[in-house]
Symmetry: C2
Subunit: 340 residues, 2 copies
C-alpha cells in the first residue's frame, strides 16, 4: 500500500550509490548517458517521486506561499485568491491558506504557525480588527525573521513591505462625479467599513467629488455605521426622503441593502434613483436591475501580489530591498442601476 519509493531503494535495487541516482535524475553532466537512461527508466517504472519535504529541508525553502485573508466568502477576496493561486502555480509555488475571519488573534496565530519553514513568504490582507486597532507586531515579527510580506487592499501603513492597492480615492471620486454628471442633485453616501483604510479613502473621494462640483456635502445624507442592523435601520429611515436621487455605496453590504430597500420603498431604479456600489461578486449582475459598480480587478491584484512576492523571494539577498506599492486601476461598470 504505502509505496513511497526513495532514492535509497532505487539505488539498492540498481546496485549503484544514492548520489549516482540523485545526479542521474537531475540530469547531471557527471553521469554517463547510459546510466542516466537506465536510472531514469527504472525510476519511472517504480513511480519514483522526489520527496519535497526533504528537498525543502535541504534547500531551506518550501516553494510555498502563505496567503492570509479575512474571509473567503467575500467574492473580492475569493477573486484575488484565484489570481494568486494561478500566478503562484505558474511560477512553481504552492499556496497555504489561512483565514483570519477578521480576527487579530487568528491572524497572528496562523502567521506564527506558518512562519517556521512551512512557507517562504506571506501575502496578506489585514484583518479588520488588526487594522482598526493598528496591531502590527506580528507582521514586523515575520519580516524581521526574514519572511517577506506582500499586503494587498487592506494595507497596514506602518508596516514597511511591498503592497498592492487600488486607487480607492480616485475611483470613489470618479464614481461620485459620474452620479453628479448624470444629474443627481441629492446623493447619499453609505458605508459600513469606515474602520478600514479603504473605507476612509473612498469616503474622502466622494467628498472631494462633491466639493469639486460645488455640491453641498450634507451630513444628513451620510450613513457611516458599522453595526449592520443599525445601518439597515438608518438606511430605511433615510429612504423615506424621496428627494434622494443618487446613492454611492462604499461596500458590499451597503450596496446590497440600498438596492433592496430602495425597491421596497418603491423607488424606480434608475429613473428616480441612481445607484453605484463598490462590489466584485457576480451577484451585482444578478440583481434586477443590475448594479453599476466600481470593479477592482481583483484577479489582477492577486497576480500582481504573487509576482511581487516571488520576485523578492528569488532575488539574491545582496540586492537592496526597495519596497514597492503598486496601484491597480479600477473600472466603473455601467449597468442598469444608473441612467446612461
Amino acid at each position: 500500500m504505502k509505496s513511497k519509493v526513495t532514492l535509497k531503494q532505487l539505488a539498492k535495487e540498481l546496485g549503484v550509490s544514492v548520489s549516482t541516482v540523485s545526479k542521474a535524475l537531475s540530469n547531471s553532466e557527471e553521469i554517463s548517458t547510459q546510466t542516466k537512461l537506465k536510472i531514469k527508466e527504472f525510476a519511472t517504472l517504480k513511480k519514483y517521486k522526489p520527496n519535497t519535504i526533504a528537498k525543502n529541508l535541504k534547500n531551506q525553502s518550501s516553494k510555498t506561499i502563505g496567503v492570509i485573508i479575512p474571509n473567503i466568502l467575500n467574492p473580492f477576496f475569493a477573486k484575488v485568491f484565484s489570481g494568486i493561486e494561478k500566478r503562484a502555480l505558474d511560477r512553481g509555488y504552492n499556496i497555504i491558506t489561512g483565514i483570519s475571519n477578521e480576527s487579530f488573534e487568528k491572524e497572528k496565530q496562523v502567521m506564527e504557525l506558518l512562519n517556521n519553514g512551512s512557507i517562504d513568504g506571506f501575502i496578506v490582507s489585514v484583518a479588520e480588527e488588526s487594522q482598526t486597532q493598528n496591531k502590527i507586531e506580528h507582521f514586523n515579527d515575520a519580516i524581521n525573521s526574514g519572511t517577506p510580506i506582500v499586503m494587498f487592499d487592506r494595507v497596514a501603513k506602518d508596516v514597511v513591505c511591498d503592497k498592492v492597492v487600488v486607487d480607492d480615492f480616485e475611483s470613489a471620486f470618479f464614481a461620485a462625479t459620474h452620479l453628479i454628471n448624470i444629474g443627481c442633485k441629492n446623493i447619499a453616501v453609505l458605508s459600513t467599513i469606515d474602520g478600514l483604510s479603504v473605507g476612509k479613502l473612498r469616503l474622502n473621494g466622494y467628498e472631494s467629488a462633491l466639493e469639486n462640483k460645488s455640491m453641498p456635502n450634507d451630513v444628513k445624507n451620510h450613513i457611516i455605521e458599522s453595526d449592520l442592523d443599525l445601518f439597515d435601520e438608518k438606511l430605511a429611515a433615510l429612504l423615506n426622503d424621496k428627494s434622494i436621487d443618487g446613492i454611492f455605496a462604499i461596500d458590499e453590504h451597503a450596496a446590497t441593502m440600498s438596492h433592496k430597500t430602495a425597491l421596497k420603498k418603491g423607488f424606480k431604479i434608475p429613473d428616480q434613483l441612481n445607484l453605484i456600489g463598490f462590489a466584485d461578486g457576480a451577484w451585482s449582475r444578478r440583481l434586477t436591475p443590475s448594479l453599476s459598480t466600481v470593479s477592482q480587478h481583483a484577479p489582477e491584484i492577486g497576480e500582481c501580489a504573487a509576482n511581487l512576492l516571488i520576485d523578492r523571494l528569488e532575488k539574491p539577498f545582496t540586492e537592496f530591498p526597495k519596497y514597492e506599492t503598486i496601484v491597480i486601476k479600477t473600472e466603473l461598470r455601467y449597468r442598469e442601476s444608473t441612467k446612461r
Copy 2:
C-alpha cells in the same frame, strides 16, 4: 535579518547537547526541572521556532491537507472550504489549496505536484471534466501510493474512498413536492449541470415528486442545457408561456437566470410564479424578491470531510479501512419567491 534559530545554536550557546534542548522543549520527564526552565527561557528569549519541515521529514507526515476544488468563486465551494479550514486548524492541520478550474489536466497536475510528501491526504470535489469523462486514474494513483482521499459533493462513484454528499435526490423531491403543495400546476425544471452526478440526482428527485403526485412530467417544461448562452435563450422562450407557475432550478445559474428573466417578462413573483433553486451564496437573500432555496449546509460538509480525513490519517494502519459515505441533510429555506 534572517534569524532562524536552531536547536544546535541554542545547544551551543547554552553549553548542552542538542538532544537535551530538544527534550527540554518538549517537556520530557528525563530532564531536570531547572535545566528545562533555563532552556525554555533562553529559547523564548532567542525566539526559537521549531522548523516544521524538519519535524515533518522526521515524522514522515506534514500535518497538511491538500484541498482540490473546482472553483473558489462558487460560494458553495467557498463555504465548504471555510468549513474544512476551520476544522483542520482546530485539529492541528494546515491546508494547501489547489483549484482545478473544472479541468481534468489541472486537477491531475495539482494532485501529482502535492502527492510527494507535501500533504498527508486530499479532500477533493471532482472537476466537471473529470466527472463527465469519468477520468479517475489520478485519484486511484494517489490512493494506491498511500494518500487517502475524501471526496465531497461531486463524487466519483468508481473511486473507493470516504465521501460526503448531500441527499440530492431527496431534497429535490422535497422541493418539487413543496411547489406542488402550494398549488403549482405547471412546473418547469431547469438545469445546466446534467453532466454532474448531483445534477442527475436532482432531476430524478424532481421527476419522482411529480410522479408521486400524479402530475404530468411534460418534457417541454424541461431545460437541460449546459451551454449557458443556449440555456438563456431557451429559458427566455419558455417564459413566454405565461401558464408556467413554478420553477425548480437545479443549479445557481438556472436559479439566477430564471429570477432575472421572469421579472423581465413581467411575472409577479411569487403570485404568478413560484421559484425554488439550489443555491448557497448570500446573493439569494439579496435578490428582490429573495429566493427560496435548497441549502446544502456547506460548512458542515467541509467540517465533516476534514474530520473523516483526519480520523483516517490518525488511525493506525493496522485497522481495517471501512470507507464511509456520509449524507448531510439539506434544508429548504422559504423566502419571498414562493407563496407561503
